[in-house]
């Protein structure tokens, strides 16, 4: 009856090994290689050189810009998000429910496409709005230059404020209204209550939302790439991209990239640490209230103006850019006025069905999205299961590894997988879709872990133990009890990954090869080519190899032929 050997090093160990293995291969190794490359110069540990890289004017400027932009977006996004959250939860604004949904829409739109739209509307020379003011209203110059810090901050704010909005809405809805009512009974007026009771109570949620904005904005590539480069505004991710693309993947470029990545990782880790602290402190404050309706502030005379303001905001930030994109897409030639005789659907037909480049990109993005969402979903279940449910030795290590995906921004992951998967260790996936797949898995692991561990925490241990006591082995208990119960979390994880993966840019732009463009890359490079057309500087600077192995992309391949001209 001595079956200790088999049962002790059985299923739990396999699961544990699997979980650690996935995280190490997909996340830890790339990050470690980044640190190694940044700190290990010519076979020696070298911190002084890191400082030197950071003190170069370009890198220093990029760091500063990342900080300026992130801070700006955080402040504006927090103000906007908190204001609208308060408006839709605590006032008698009409159509609150619909408004709440509408304010979440920006979350689902890719911000760099928004940036492209705003570029068409507000670029100083040719932006439609600027031209309107100059041509029709007789202004001397453009009303607003989108190629500026202000422009970038404004556009990012439009897409990132939902982070705060969601958190604060949740907090305001969950807040026990008796907390406010008792203050009211004690004789406090509404202003005092807001200042002394409401704001302190939702402050943790506001802070945690704004830290999310900061985290995201710090490592954000798309908007800055589209709007900043024209005015010479680089942040960390765009500088990494620019360096890697322009300096032939030389050692220096990679090193600058890794040093910058290291800064990003540390910043992100710090922000996440801060956020956990804020949340831990705030947890006890908001009592999950019973389902009382919180007292609503009567807006009275402001009701209609505020409603109109909300409509204006939504129209301006969602409808206007989206329509612009569709309208411009329908123009026979970019730059023509929007008149019916200038519009055509041929462009869409061409892009979707005829042109190899875009057709491949669509196919690549869909298959990459599906594959990464499926793999990450299952991997996330296994890893979360080990972290949340199992008692194994060495779980501390796994918990640490499980935190990593949250603090590693996209561009860092891209750089890391270049270092890890371009032949240095015997496998060269460079220029294939596989390397993008690996990067997507690493990038979206955090989403899957979050959704799945939330679902798993709902599954009480005793449900699994009851299955074990009923004679089920660990695998049977997983199959019959755990998986069916966490299925909603898995489905959520799938869509949380599939949808953003479809439009992913930050990672793919550093990894794509001639045949592995994604939708995001196709849009970005085509619009870049539009820019390069007018300023023919960087055509020749294409990246060659890193240590002979990293053969970063050849020329922009032959694709920008006829279709591109059509796009212009």
């Amino acid at each position: 009856m001595n079956n200790a050997g088999t049962s002790r090093s059985g299923t739990p160990q396999i699961l544990f090994g699997l979980a650690v293995g996935i995280l190490v291969i997909f996340v830890a190794v790339p990050v470690l290689l980044i640190f190694f490359n940044a700190l290990w110069v010519h076979g020696r540990f070298n911190v002084a050189d890191v400082v030197n890289v950071l003190r170069e004017p370009d890198t220093y400027k990029a760091l500063l810009n990342s900080l300026i932009l992130a801070s700006g977006v955080t402040v504006t996004g927090t103000l906007v998000g908190t204001f609208f959250a308060w408006l839709v939860t605590r006032t008698d604004l009409p159509y609150k429910g619909a408004m709440k949904v509408l304010f979440l829409v920006p979350f689902m739109l890719p911000s760099f496409i928004g940036a492209l739209a705003w570029k068409m509307l507000l670029s100083p020379r040719s932006g439609y709005i600027n031209r309107l003011f100059v041509d029709v209203f007789g202004f001397d110059g453009p009303v607003f230059n989108i190629y500026s810090y202000g422009g970038i901050i404004a556009v990012e704010t439009m897409y990132l404020f939902p982070f705060v909005f969601i958190q604060v809405c949740g907090a305001l809805e969950r807040m026990d209204p008796t907390l406010e009512e008792s203050a009211r009974i004690s004789g406090a007026d509404l202003f005092t209550i807001t200042r002394k009771i409401t704001i302190p109570l939702v402050l943790p949620s506001i802070l945690s939302g704004s830290l999310l904005i900061m985290l995201y904005s710090m490592a954000h590539f798309g908007t800055v790439a589209v709007l900043g480069i024209e005015a010479g505004i680089y942040n960390i991710p765009t500088l990494i991209y620019e360096r890697i693309h322009q300096s032939a993947g030389s050692f220096d470029a990679i090193r600058t990239g890794t040093v910058l990545s290291m800064v990003l990782v540390f910043t992100a880790a710090f922000i996440i640490w801060l956020q956990n602290k804020v949340l831990a402190r705030g947890r006890y404050q908001i009592i999950a209230g019973k389902s009382f309706r919180p007292a609503e502030l009567k807006l009275r005379g402001l009701r209609v103006p505020l409603l109109l303001f909300c409509f204006a905001y939504i129209g301006f930030t969602i409808v206007l850019p989206t329509t612009t994109i569709f309208m411009v897409g329908g123009l026979r030639t970019y730059g023509l006025p929007f008149a019916l005789e200038n519009m055509t659907l041929d462009n869409y037909h061409h892009i979707l069905f005829e042109w190899d480049l875009t057709r491949d990109a669509i196919w690549n993005s869909i298959s990459l999205g599906l594959a990464s969402a499926l793999i990450t979903m299952f991997a996330g279940v296994i890893i979360s299961y080990v972290i949340v449910k199992m008692k194994v030795r060495g779980k501390g290590l796994l918990e640490f590894l499980g935190m990593l995906p949250f603090s590693v921004p996209g561009s860092v992951i891209a750089l890391g997988v270049i270092l890890a998967w371009s032949g240095k260790f015997g496998i060269n996936l460079y220029n294939t879709v596989w390397i993008i797949l690996i990067a997507y898995i690493a990038r979206y692991m955090a989403f899957s872990l979050k959704a799945n561990s939330a679902a798993l925490e709902q599954v009480h241990d005793s449900l699994v133990e009851a299955a074990r006591a009923s004679g089920a082995t660990m695998w049977q208990a997983l199959r019959d009890i755990v998986i069916p119960l966490v299925r909603p979390g898995m489905v959520a994880a799938f869509f949380l990954i599939f949808l953003p993966a479809l439009r992913e840019l930050t990672v793919s732009v550093l990894l794509y090869g001639p045949t592995s463009r994604t939708i995001g890359v196709a849009i970005y490079t085509l619009s870049e080519d539009g820019r390069f057309r007018s300023r023919p500087r960087s055509r020749a600077r294409r990246v060659r190899g890193h240590a002979g192995a990293v053969r970063l992309r050849q020329d922009h391949d032959a694709a920008h032929g006829s279709g591109l001209r059509r796009y212009r």
Partner: protein, 374 residues
């Protein structure tokens, strides 16, 4: 065949030793209760029996099989036990029938046999007619029965019940208590029942063990034996509401903590200068005059059939319970702040330190303590 032998069982979590060399034997076919306060290690012991935890040292033998010991760990699914959890652990995505049939399905029992046995088990717990319901459509008591049927369906020789009646209301708890007892006797299985509720323990068990916070078994025996002849004050306190009056030997006799009042009542049956008299509220006989300790009623609570008193005597506060009707007939109902005389129907003697030291460290004289404290 379903007996259990536990020898020298040790289990620690980090620096905390939950069980330290525990020995226990449970006979086959016995209904055995582990009674103890929360976090005393009784659930750990249960989980060790089920195989969810592995002991640091010691052996567990179930029937004739060594299931845990040096180098041996039989996983839960191969111990052939039934278990009912405190929170029922009824699988929310399966109907009543699927829940109950699951152990048979896992065991690979043929579908027709399975259906019959499932139906029998559902009938045994009185859920016939609810087979298609989902757990969310059941009351707490019904979910409890599903869990019980699921634990019984594979005809285990050993059934482990971990505070399964905790979340039920008082009436249902009483009803389920009898049903479990009845099923256990009818099926002749061994039952280990873990609880902190002394009433259930006394009502249900053939034998019970009182466990203290350190994971030691203070006393093992039949319910009436433990109730009438508690091994120590801990067991006494745990089996019901307990009063203790510490007394000291003086030249004249025994004195209460105020140093003045003389003890009146049954005399100590043991040696020592510092003793404590233990008695239940209904061991107290109150009268207006006559023999007894002189006390003052601090608070009288009329509860219907029974009237409860808080009484101060010689620097100690006591709880007394009297039959309202009989006391009323004899003119013996007291109001707040009336003087009274306290006599005793029965007194158990303990060493003072033992009786008072662990109860209420900051206030040794107030020794009234409720049983079944969480």
């Amino acid at each position: 065949m379903g007996g259990i032998r536990i020898e020298g069982l040790v289990k620690s979590y980090g620096a905390r030793k939950v069980l330290d060399g525990l020995d226990l034997t449970v006979e086959a076919g016995e209904c055995f209760t582990l009674l103890g306060p929360s976090a005393c290690g009784k659930t750990v012991l249960m989980r060790l029996l089920a195989g969810f935890e592995t002991p640091d040292a010691g052996r567990i033998v179930i029937g004739d099989t060594l299931v845990a010991g040096t180098g041996v760990h039989v996983p839960p699914d191969r111990r052939g036990i039934g278990m009912v959890f405190q929170d029922y652990a009824v699988w929310p995505h399966m109907s009543v029938r699927d829940n109950v049939a699951y152990p048979l399905k896992i065991a690979g029992i043929a579908a027709d046999v399975r259906a019959g046995r499932t139906q029998t088990a559902i009938g045994q717990v009185g859920l016939a007619g609810l087979e298609q319901r989902m757990p969310s459509q059941l009351s707490g008591g019904q979910q409890q029965r599903v869990a019980l049927a699921r634990a019984l369906v594979s005809k285990p020789a050993l059934l482990l019940l971990d505070e399964p009646l905790n979340n039920l209301d008082a009436n249902l708890r009483e009803e389920m208590r009898f049903e479990i007892r009845e099923l256990q006797q009818r099926l002749g299985i061994t039952v280990i029942y873990v609880t902190h509720d002394q009433e259930i323990a006394l009502a249900l068990s053939d034998r019970l063990a009182v466990m203290d916070e350190k994971g030691c078994l203070r006393q093992v025996g039949a319910p009436d034996a433990l109730f009438d002849r508690p091994a120590d004050a801990y067991v006494y306190r745990f089996l019901g509401v307990a009063n203790f009056i510490p007394v000291r030997k003086s030249a004249a006799g025994w004195r209460l903590p105020d140093g003045v009042t003389e003890w009146v009542g049954p005399l100590p049956d043991r040696e020592g200068g510092h003793l404590a008299a233990g008695f239940r509220p209904n061991d107290v006989a109150l009268s207006r005059s006559g023999a007894g300790l002189p006390g003052i009623v601090r608070r009288a609570s009329f509860l219907g059939a029974q009237t409860d008193y808080l009484i101060e005597v010689g620097g100690v506060t006591l709880r007394a319970a009297t039959d309202s009707r009989r006391a009323g007939a004899g003119g013996q109902l007291f109001r707040d702040n009336e003087p009274c005389r306290i006599g005793f129907h029965a007194v158990q003697w303990f060493d003072e330190l033992d009786a008072t030291g662990t109860v209420n460290a900051e206030d040794v004289s107030a020794t009234t303590s409720g049983a079944g404290h969480e």
